[in-house]
């Protein structure tokens, strides 16, 4: 009974102590919809936005970043993926909007990552008074290298997801189109014979009266 609130307070203190924030979201964007996210950013903090359309339509989306004074920081139309880095000029709420307004029927899946502030260091750094030992420095280096690997993996995962979904769609399309065409061939060839027979038959029909 006592443990739960204890753990919770630790967690709260931990989270509030973090300067940098990073959030990754993958969300659905229905046709002709706009999806906006808001983030409060302190003055002079650097922030970066990364996004990619995973499925739907031409894999494009309109993206806009708006500052607290309604100034447009970044605006792109029909982008498949991009990243943008900016430094906040004012403290305030920044707005990131993804718009699918130009598309009336394609439903999209969009990934976005918003990083605010510098990269989060390993815990305990900063409280350190003495010079870092060699071991600690190399741990730090490994940490940033691993972070880069994770970033690359995310990229790879998204590209793979996009291609895989496209391939699955293609597979499906090939299947249905082949079904359709087989049916069409059968119908057309039967109809051809019928029509030809009608031309030459004695009975007055619609065709030879014309």
């Amino acid at each position: 009974m006592l443990v739960a609130p204890f753990v919770f307070t630790i967690l709260v203190t931990l989270i509030s102590g973090i300067f940098s924030k990073s959030v990754e979201l993958t969300f659905e964007l229905p046709d002709s919809a706009v999806e906006c996210f808001y983030q409060e950013i302190e003055k002079n903090t650097s922030a970066s936005l990364e996004y990619q359309v995973i499925t739907g339509g031409q894999y494009d989306v309109d993206v806009k970043i708006e500052g607290p004074k309604k100034q447009i920081i970044y605006q792109q139309q029909k982008m498949q993926y991009d990243s943008h880095q900016f430094t906040a000029l004012n403290t305030g709420v920044y707005k990131v909007c993804f718009s699918n307004e130009f598309s009336t029927f394609s439903h999209k899946l969009v990934y976005m990552e918003l990083n605010v502030g510098p990269e989060q260091p390993l815990p305990g750094v900063g409280e350190h008074a003495t010079v870092l030992t060699q071991l600690e420095t190399s741990a730090e280096e490994i940490h940033s290298a691993l972070n880069r690997i994770i970033d690359h993996q995310t990229h790879h995962r998204l590209r793979e997801a996009q291609s895989r979904k496209r391939a699955e769609e293609l597979n499906e399309r090939v299947f249905w189109w082949s079904m359709g065409e087989t049916l069409a061939i059968l119908c057309v060839s039967l109809a051809q014979v019928m029509v030809l027979k009608n031309f030459f038959s004695d009975r007055p029909t619609l065709y030879n009266r014309m």
């Binding site: 753990v7 919770f8 630790i10 967690l11 709260v12 203190t13 931990l14 989270i15 509030s16 924030k21 990073s22 959030v23 990754e24 979201l25 993958t26 969300f27 659905e28 999806e35 906006c36 996210f37 808001y38 983030q39 409060e40 899946l109 918003l114 390993l122 815990p123 305990g124 350190h128 071991l135 600690e136 741990a139 730090e140 490994i142 940490h143 691993l146 690997i149 994770i150 993996q153 790879h156 995962r157 793979e160 997801a161 291609s163 895989r164 391939a167 699955e168 293609l170 597979n171 090939v174 299947f175 082949s178 087989t182 061939i185 060839s189 014979v193 030809l196 027979k197 030459f200 038959s201």
Partner: protein, 203 residues
């Protein structure tokens, strides 16, 4: 509670369902922190706390099975650990009450996946680790996460390849089949018409 409030937020209408997708390997923990604020028409802002508003949370695994389905209060944290790799869908919607309906909700949300979800401060306290040990622990966790992701990547690559090969096979067989169908139909048409003309004494 400035933690979740400083996180990313978005607006939803009451009762509106909002879903996020997390594609994760198996045995990965996801922690979601959230806070809901209700729009206050009198002040034109958002009420800092809204008792009475609950959030319904639903988490589905890649096989569309419900992993978690519960009603939480207007603010809180929940977590789940994946058992099957793939796309996990996290959906949230308010348990709307009639007199509130139609108004806007502001949802602060923070989703942390894998080693980001580990709380190292409490790990250090619990296991009595030195700073260096803690760092090594974190590095190890990162490596584990990368390994898991990589093995999941291999699985997905396999599925991708299977799809591509299936498409390839389908295209090949279908083109052969269609040629056969065309030849067959053409032959049947000729024979049928020939016998028809002969019967009609046209040739």
């Amino acid at each position: 509670m400035s933690d979740v409030t400083s996180a990313l937020y978005f607006h939803i209408a009451e009762g509106e369902r909002k879903c996020f997708i997390e594609e994760i390997p198996d045995d990965t923990t996801v922690i979601v922190n959230y806070k809901v604020e209700l729009y206050d028409p009198r002040s034109g802002g958002f009420m800092p706390s809204t008792p009475g508003i609950g959030m319904h949370v639903e988490v589905r695994d890649p096989n569309d099975k419900i992993v978690l389905s519960r009603v939480y209060s207007s603010e809180g944290m929940y977590s789940f650990t994946s058992t099957t790799p793939g796309e996990h869908v996290i959906c949230m919607y308010s348990n709307s009450t009639s007199w509130f309906s139609g108004s806007q909700l502001r949802v602060h949300l923070d989703i942390q996946v894998g080693e980001h979800a580990v709380d190292y401060a409490s790990v250090a306290k619990k296991d009595k680790l030195t700073e260096l040990q803690l760092r090594i622990r974190q590095l190890l966790d990162q490596v584990h996460q990368i390994t898991k992701e990589q093995s999941y990547q291999r699985q997905r690559e396999e599925r991708f390849r299977q799809t591509s090969e299936s498409t390839n096979q389908r295209v090949l067989w279908w083109s052969l089949m269609q040629t056969a169908v065309l030849v067959g139909i053409g032959y049947w048409q000729m024979r049928h018409l020939k016998s028809f003309f002969e019967a009609k004494k046209l040739v």
